[in-house]
């Protein structure tokens, strides 16, 4: 009967009730979305790179290097020369060193020039290796028929299959007008889905990249090439960054020092974990501001709900005196108002969760395609519990205002409100 009264009372004021629900739901949506997206972005960033001990690049900010080399956000303006790469690679503590080259794209998707070793040693998530879903890695020195390995996301989005030929563009961005259309790349393999920016990346060999650029610009090549055992990289002069794995953990700092003090070229080495921490700190302040704003907006709308209920008290004094005459205690009237608050808040929460869920479904592919951020579309995330609980508590506190008003009303007005 208690619940029936509250529900029917709200239904009888359905227009104001719905408006209140909509405003509370909207502000809850903002709060939930901020919370959900920041935490998911964190998880997504955190799982992108693992098993890489150092990233070596030209001197720049460590975030800049990390974002460009791993997340394909922004770009590195300077590069690492091939001799420097060789020097690092042959350090005794180094287990493996993989060069990567960035700067080209295909229909807006970044192109990564690297060696076949990349597919063997690069790890993501919980030290998972890259796996081929179809085909195999590119052949490193296939000069005549350059090959490309696609990330799962690209293959799916653009509908590419094995053996398909495609043309890469200079620079990044969808609307690049400078196409390298003298060299066609054949799809040799498609990677399994990883949930990292790798899904949005096209992988080609360094030599393939060089050939493409050489043919395009018709610049001389081979003049400065170096004598070394990797014949495939004979004409590679420089790379964007080098991913390094060390033989033992303690060597990480030693190698970092070695790179930072490297005389021949101004280089820097970053530890991905440390750089990520810096990124979190940067994000944390922004996250705090966003959270603060959304919490304030929510408080404002909850105050609005409290105002709405308070305003309805005047017209409801008749109702309260009827309830009192029938034997309702002032406490019953108090609880009735709080129950209405609870019902309004619960419906708003449900609506907000549905809205966040709906928007995530729409936004997930856009975020992954453009920012390499993968959000997991979940209706009920882990951090939703605490938000739901605290929102309910806060709304009940806000509901105290009209509820106490109703309580006093019930105590003071007798049977005869006229």
């Amino acid at each position: 009967m208690f619940i029936k009264i509250a529900i029917n009372s709200l239904i009888s004021r359905r227009v104001t009730a719905w408006l209140t629900i909509l405003s509370v739901a909207t502000s809850l949506f903002v709060l939930l979305a901020v919370k959900q997206i920041t935490s998911q972005a964190k998880t997504s960033f955190g799982r992108t790179v693992s098993g890489v001990d150092l990233i070596v690049g030209a001197r720049t900010g460590q975030l800049n290097l990390l974002l460009a080399s791993v997340f394909r956000i922004g770009y590195v303006s300077n590069s690492v020369s091939w001799p420097s790469y060789q020097a690092i690679k042959h350090q005794k503590h180094v287990s493996w060193a993989i060069p990567i080259s960035l700067g080209d794209s295909h229909k807006g998707y970044p192109v990564l020039g690297t060696t076949t070793q990349y597919f063997d040693v690069f790890k993501y998530g919980n030290k998972q290796s890259l796996k081929m879903a179809q085909g195999q890695a590119f052949v490193a020195d296939a000069f005549d028929s350059a090959q490309v390995v696609l990330g799962a996301g690209i293959a799916e989005k653009l509908g590419y299959t094995l053996g398909q030929e495609l043309v890469l563009s200079h620079g990044v961005g969808v609307t690049s007008f400078s196409h390298h259309d003298h060299v066609k790349f054949t799809v040799s393999g498609i990677l399994e889905f990883t949930g990292t920016p790798i899904d949005q990346t096209l992988h080609i060999s360094l030599s393939g990249l060089e050939v493409m650029h050489d043919k395009e610009h018709a610049i001389e090549s081979g003049d400065t090439h170096l004598e070394h055992e990797h014949h495939a990289h004979e004409d590679v002069e420089k790379v964007s960054a080098v991913l390094v794995g060390v033989k033992a953990k303690f060597a990480t700092l030693f190698m970092q020092k070695f790179v930072n003090e490297y005389k021949q070229e101004p280089l820097m080495a970053i530890i991905p974990g440390v750089a990520l921490t810096e990124l979190w700190q940067m994000m944390a302040s922004m996250e705090k501001v966003l959270l603060l704003i959304s919490v304030l907006v929510l408080l404002a709308t909850l105050l609005g709900m409290s105002t709405m209920l308070l305003a309805s008290m005047r017209e409801r004094s008749r109702e309260i005196s009827i309830l009192r005459a029938l034997g309702a205690s002032p406490w019953f009237v108090f609880c009735l108002i709080e129950l209405e608050v609870l019902v309004l808040t619960l419906i708003s929460l449900l609506l907000a969760l549905v809205m966040v869920w709906g928007v995530s479904i729409v936004a997930a592919p856009i975020l992954s395609a453009h920012y390499g951020i993968f959000i997991d579309v979940k209706f009920w995330g882990d951090d939703v519990y605490s938000i739901v609980a605290s929102v309910l508590v806060v709304s009940l506190i806000m509901g105290l205002l009209p509820a106490i008003n109703a309580y006093k009303n019930a105590l003071q007005t007798g049977l005869l409100v006229k």
């Binding site: 009967m1 009372s9 008749r318 309830l323 005459a325 034997g327 049977l415």
Partner: protein, 241 residues
């Protein structure tokens, strides 16, 4: 009848004083008053004579500042708020002047509300009870599922009788229940009311300023006889003017 009334008092006021501001302005001062079981008491008085306050005391919504108020042998002055609420729900039925029903509930739910506060649990034969009362008051059964706001004033007042009587209260308080009705519905309403009250052991307190209704009742009291505070106020006002 009069001997029985004296021997079986159901309401007893002795030296009841009440004010809304800690004794500054006495609203109610009743040295002695008593109502007996099955009595049909007509209470008349002008507005401001303390009628509303008297009804609030009788229903336990307000408690007197001093004096002893006994109802059904129990002292209302010693009861807690919760006990008073329970007492009112179970023993006292109330009919207002108008707008008796909660508009957004159905007629049936409005009636069940009274049952809910009186017992807090389901009653087995409550449906039969509601239906038979509905028929007694010449209302169609279909009215039970209607929203209270869809009813005419006359129908609403009759539903108010059903709700007030559903718990078989010992005391029925009616506060000008006929003032919103036309002459024809008025007498029909009173007839139905008395029929029901006489069928039960209910004591009726009927407050009205319409003295043409006095003939229906077996006893009558005016607020000016009852309430010394009102006399005081009138005297003071007389002195000023």
């Amino acid at each position: 009848m009069s001997e029985q009334t004296l021997s079986d008092p159901i309401i007893q006021f002795s030296n009841i004083k009440f004010s809304y501001d800690n004794g500054q302005n006495l609203v109610l001062d009743i040295p002695q008053w008593q109502v007996s079981r099955r009595q049909h008491m007509f209470i008349s008085g002008a507005s401001g004579s303390g009628k509303s306050t008297l009804l609030n005391l009788l229903s336990g919504i307000n408690s007197p500042d001093s004096g002893e108020l006994l109802m059904l042998g129990q002292s209302l002055t010693n009861m807690s708020g919760r006990e008073l609420d329970k007492f009112r729900a179970q023993k006292v039925g109330v009919i207002f002047q108008q707008l008796n029903l909660i508009p957004y509930l159905t007629v049936k739910d409005n009636i069940l509300l009274a049952v809910y506060f009186a017992t807090k649990k389901e009653q087995l034969n409550i449906q039969n009870k509601i239906e038979s009362l509905t028929e007694q008051l010449n209302l169609p059964l279909s009215i039970l599922s209607k929203q209270a706001s869809e009813l005419s004033v006359g129908q609403q007042q009759r539903v108010a009788i059903i709700r007030a009587m559903i718990n078989e209260p010992e005391i029925l308080i009616a506060d000008e229940p006929t003032s919103a009705l036309d002459a024809q519905s008025k007498s029909a309403f009173l007839q139905l009311l008395f029929e029901l009250v006489n069928n039960t052991n209910c004591t009726l307190l009927f407050v009205s300023h319409d003295t043409s209704l006095v003939s229906y009742f077996d006893s009558e009291v005016t607020m000016s006889e009852l309430n010394q505070a009102a006399v005081q106020v009138q005297k003071e006002q007389g002195d000023v003017y």
